[in-house]
């Protein structure tokens, strides 16, 4: 009897297993070939050049369009990150820079085709680059940083060769062509949809794509999801084959706890924007792969407006820099997930190198802070506000409380101000905030670029509103400095000035925590801080 029931049970089991095996492959295969990426943000345009486009839109365009060149990748502390110094061809088969550095010649791949099957020609490249520097779009301001400002600089030599002329040898010209904006558009298709008011088809390209990229858009629901499918004939990847995933679903899930649940249950494959506490617990459980990369092209600051009293006094700024509880802030805000930019030791009192961002020798020392306040003529302290935006509340709120507590000890009374994002950016732009925390990111992180964009001029990104002609002059000169040793020297000088003037306090570079299913491979930290879907594959 027992024997029979055993046989019965096992045969039932076997049949079920057989059925499962028979039914499973078709479905399992499509799921395995699909990447489901969830994010708190959303794609709002298919053309990243449109003012107001989101970071997710940038990432999407990397897959739907090709550029002339692309960044390589390198390993940094065992993690893959983009490499600014290696520029490889994407649509360009090869490129030459003339000895005087004023001419770059690109030869296009002969086999490159747009998604509608027509070949990619130098005419398309010229039209796309012209659009980038002429049309009222975001690419204009970006390419300006690489001395690319006018359509006259792009010349078609023959159908597969294009030449870019520069007014000065600018080392950022080539990297700029690998950024998000100068994507190569199918000019024949785009021109069909251009109008007299809109000669560069910006309205049409916002909702449609006409590129040669690794993926084509299958469905686009702004604010909800985008589904892209593989372009089988794309061969611009490393091994001359199309991208790995057949389909990629980019889905907006606003609630971070839900995103954590989805990836933990295996329903989502990859997520970048989880709360630090969730990342920590997921990492501790050990079921998922967590790749944490310090965002080495981003910095979080505590900023002071150098034009508003009392922060116009350098000793007040030094007092603040000596009174912040760095370690506690780092733990409370980021759970220690990032690279600290405080607590360095400079034995000879000079910066260790000319790279920005760098670790400053600042640490909490309340006695020193009191001395600085006395030197500033404010021994009794003063009152001020400390602002942060709602979007950053998760990290900025605990940080602000610690700032308030610590500064209170040296007599500085701080009122914490939590501002809606739009209001915060407006006030920063109008230079009205005395004391606040904000972050920056640079796509092309070189020392002179940081100092030129974030420490000069009366513009939004100069958070500290510093106006130091010497600093501006050194940074400007370094931009076109071809000699590596001299460039390094200029960088050291700038860094020393930064520490001396203390216009704002660098806190840390937060980690980008990519949490993914264990089967996902190839994740690389990219300059736009999103996933490049072409990088990843499933084992």
């Amino acid at each position: 009897m027992r024997f029979v029931s055993f046989r019965l049970a096992s045969s039932v089991l076997a049949t079920t297993a057989l059925l499962l095996i028979a039914a499973a492959p078709s479905q399992a295969q499509t799921r395995a070939e699909t990447l489901r990426y969830v994010t708190g943000a959303s794609v709002n345009t298919l053309d990243p050049n449109i003012p107001g486009s989101t970071r997710e839109s940038f990432a999407l365009s990397m897959s739907t369009y090709d550029r002339l060149v692309a960044f390589g990748r390198k390993q940094l502390n065992g993690k893959w990150v983009f490499d600014l110094d290696t520029i490889t061809g994407e649509l360009a088969e090869s490129y030459d820079v003339s000895p005087d550095g004023l001419k770059i010649t690109f030869r296009l791949r002969k086999d490159a085709k747009f998604q509608d099957g027509s070949p990619v020609t130098a005419e398309d490249v010229k039209w796309s680059l012209d659009r980038c520097v002429t049309a009222p779009i975001l690419g204009k301001a970006q390419l300006l940083t690489g001395s690319l400002t006018s359509a006259d600089q792009f010349k078609v030599i023959d159908p597969l060769t294009i030449e870019v002329t520069l007014p000065k040898p600018d080392k950022l010209a080539l990297p700029n062509l690998a950024t998000v904006y100068p994507m190569i558009i199918n000019s024949k298709v785009a021109k069909e949809h251009a109008t007299a008011d809109d000669p560069w088809a910006t309205a049409w390209l916002k909702e449609h794509t006409a590129g040669s990229g690794a993926y084509a858009v299958e469905s686009f629901k702004p604010g909800e999801q985008v589904i892209i499918k593989r372009n089988e004939s794309w061969n611009r990847g490393s091994a001359n084959k199309p991208a790995f995933f057949k389909r990629v679903i980019v889905q907006s899930v606003p609630e971070p706890a839900t995103r954590a649940n989805l990836v933990e249950r295996g329903d989502a494959d990859l997520v970048l924007d989880l709360q630090a506490s969730d990342v920590q617990s997921l990492e501790a459980k050990g079921k998922l792969k967590v790749i944490s990369t310090p965002q080495y092209n981003a910095v979080t600051y505590v900023s002071m407006n150098n034009q508003i009293p009392p922060f116009d006094n350098v000793n007040v700024r030094r007092a603040i820099a000596s009174a912040l509880p760095y370690e506690d802030m780092f733990k409370a805000a980021l759970f220690g997930r990032g690279a600290p930019l405080f607590g360095a030791t400079w034995p000879d009192g000079k910066p260790a190198n000319g790279i920005y961002p760098f670790q400053q020798p600042v640490k909490m020392d309340l006695d020193k802070a009191r001395e600085y306040l006395k030197a500033a003529g404010l021994p009794e302290g003063f009152s001020t506000t400390f602002s942060f935006n709602v979007g950053q509340a998760a990290t900025a709120e605990p940080m602000a409380a610690l700032v308030k507590e610590s500064l209170g000890k040296i007599g500085i009374k701080v009122d914490i101000q939590k501002l809606p994002d739009a209001q915060m950016s407006t006030q920063i732009n109008e230079k009205k905030l005395p004391f606040f925390t904000e972050g920056i990111v640079a796509w092309l992180p070189s020392t002179d670029y940081f100092y030129r964009n974030f420490y000069t001029g009366n513009q939004r990104w100069n958070y500290s509103s510093i106006n130091n002609p010497d600093l501006a002059a050194i940074a400007q000169e370094a931009r076109f400095e071809p000699d590596k040793a001299k460039y390094e020297e200029a960088g050291r000088k700038l860094n020393a000035m930064h520490f001396d003037l203390m216009p704002q306090i660098m806190l840390w570079q937060p980690n980008q925590d990519a949490v993914m299913a264990p089967s996902i491979e190839g994740y690389t930290y990219e300059f736009h801080r999103q996933v490049d879907y072409r990088d990843v594959s499933r084992k």
Partner: protein
């Protein structure tokens, strides 16, 4: 008799509709001005690319029409509304009308389902509580209602997700109206549960319903309390009245007394409250929409508000005001049906 009653209701409804137009206009102008008075410049916010400078900000300002004076902007806005154009959202890059048209059915479907669940639960609860006032059952209902109101919707939502999705895996992943791998039915009404039925796709219909259950329940939990309480109060009045005593004394069945006479007379205030609850839910379900990634109008408006995206917020307020007017109309008509005396006045 019935026809004249219905006719009178319609006339009353029409008059109501006309008299609500000035209010709608007021809402329109008020929201418009309010958005402009609020601190925060949308142009600066949206020009936040890594290299966006003054030029980009000016350009967005022109694009949004913010370079003109406020009265001029208002005139342009009103003339646009007159042409059925609600403007363009910077956030999604789409015309606001298109966004709202796509998102409103999602919100309506969720709210209707939640209201239905709430009514099905609340009316019997209220009736039972009224039949035995002061009993254990009455206290039980009170406790349940208090709990429902105390727990904010996002907490109950997250709790439901944790139990039914994360722990037991019974519910599908809480990401929107339909599983990403399911193909959508041809759009007819925008209500997925109806569209799937019309397309004869029962598997899809079931998938859509499964997605709908958790968010609808977490919303319903929150509004059961007012509905149950008002049912109880009005049932108590109704049960204590002369006609119920008479009905009981002539020996009518329990069912006839409670359901036909008492409940029908007690239902009027419940309809009023249900109308108000419905309008409130539609706007206030933003937390549920966020937690369940539900692509509805409320979360859309909240995102727009945070980024000072004027057009969607104005469009949303206009939509809500119009819906409120409509819901009141429907409530009026329901009155007429529930109690023909109302339409005679």
């Amino acid at each position: 008799m019935v026809r004249t009653g219905l006719g009178a209701t319609m006339v009353r409804a029409g008059r109501r509709l006309l008299s609500s137009l000035p209010a709608l206009f007021g809402v329109l102008v008020f929201t418009f001005l309010l958005m402009r008075v609020l601190p925060g410049d949308p142009a600066v916010f949206f020009a936040s690319g890594p290299n966006a400078g003054k030029e980009e900000i000016e350009q967005i300002r022109r694009q949004m029409g913010l370079d003109k004076s406020v009265p001029e902007q208002l005139v342009f806005y009103l003339s646009d509304i007159g042409h059925g154009n609600l403007g363009r959202s910077m956030m999604t890059g789409q015309p606001v009308l298109k966004d709202l048209r796509e998102r409103l059915p999602a919100s309506l479907e969720l709210t209707f389902t939640a209201l239905l669940i709430a009514l099905i639960a609340a009316v019997p609860l209220g009736v039972i509580a009224a039949l035995r006032p002061g009993s254990i059952i009455d206290h039980g209902v009170r406790l349940f209602c208090a709990l429902g109101v105390c727990v904010p919707t996002f907490v109950s939502g997250l709790l439901l997700i944790y139990v039914f999705y994360y722990l037991f895996g019974l519910a599908p992943d809480p990401t929107g109206r339909i599983d990403v791998f399911t193909s959508l039915p041809p759009q007819r009404t925008g209500f997925l549960s109806i569209d799937f039925l019309l397309a004869g796709d029962f598997e899809g219909w079931w998938a859509a319903c499964r997605q709908l259950i958790l968010p609808a329940v977490s919303m319903a939990l929150f509004v059961i309390a007012p509905l149950a309480r008002i049912t109880r109060a009005s049932m108590l009045v109704s049960l204590g009245s002369d006609f119920v005593r008479t009905a009981r004394s002539v020996g009518l069945s329990w069912r006839k007394v409670v359901v036909t006479y008492a409940l029908r007379n007690a239902i009027l205030p419940v309809i009023t409250i249900a109308g108000i609850v419905f309008s409130t839910m539609l706007g206030a379900n933003v937390l549920v929409e966020k937690v369940f990634s539900w692509p509805g109008v409320a979360s859309y408006a909240l995102d727009a508000l945070l980024s000072s995206d004027y057009a969607p917020v104005q469009g949303f307020v206009l939509l809500m005001a119009s819906l409120f007017v409509l819901v009141n109309l429907v409530v009026d008509i329901c009155y007429g049906i529930a109690d023909p005396r109302v339409s005679i006045e």
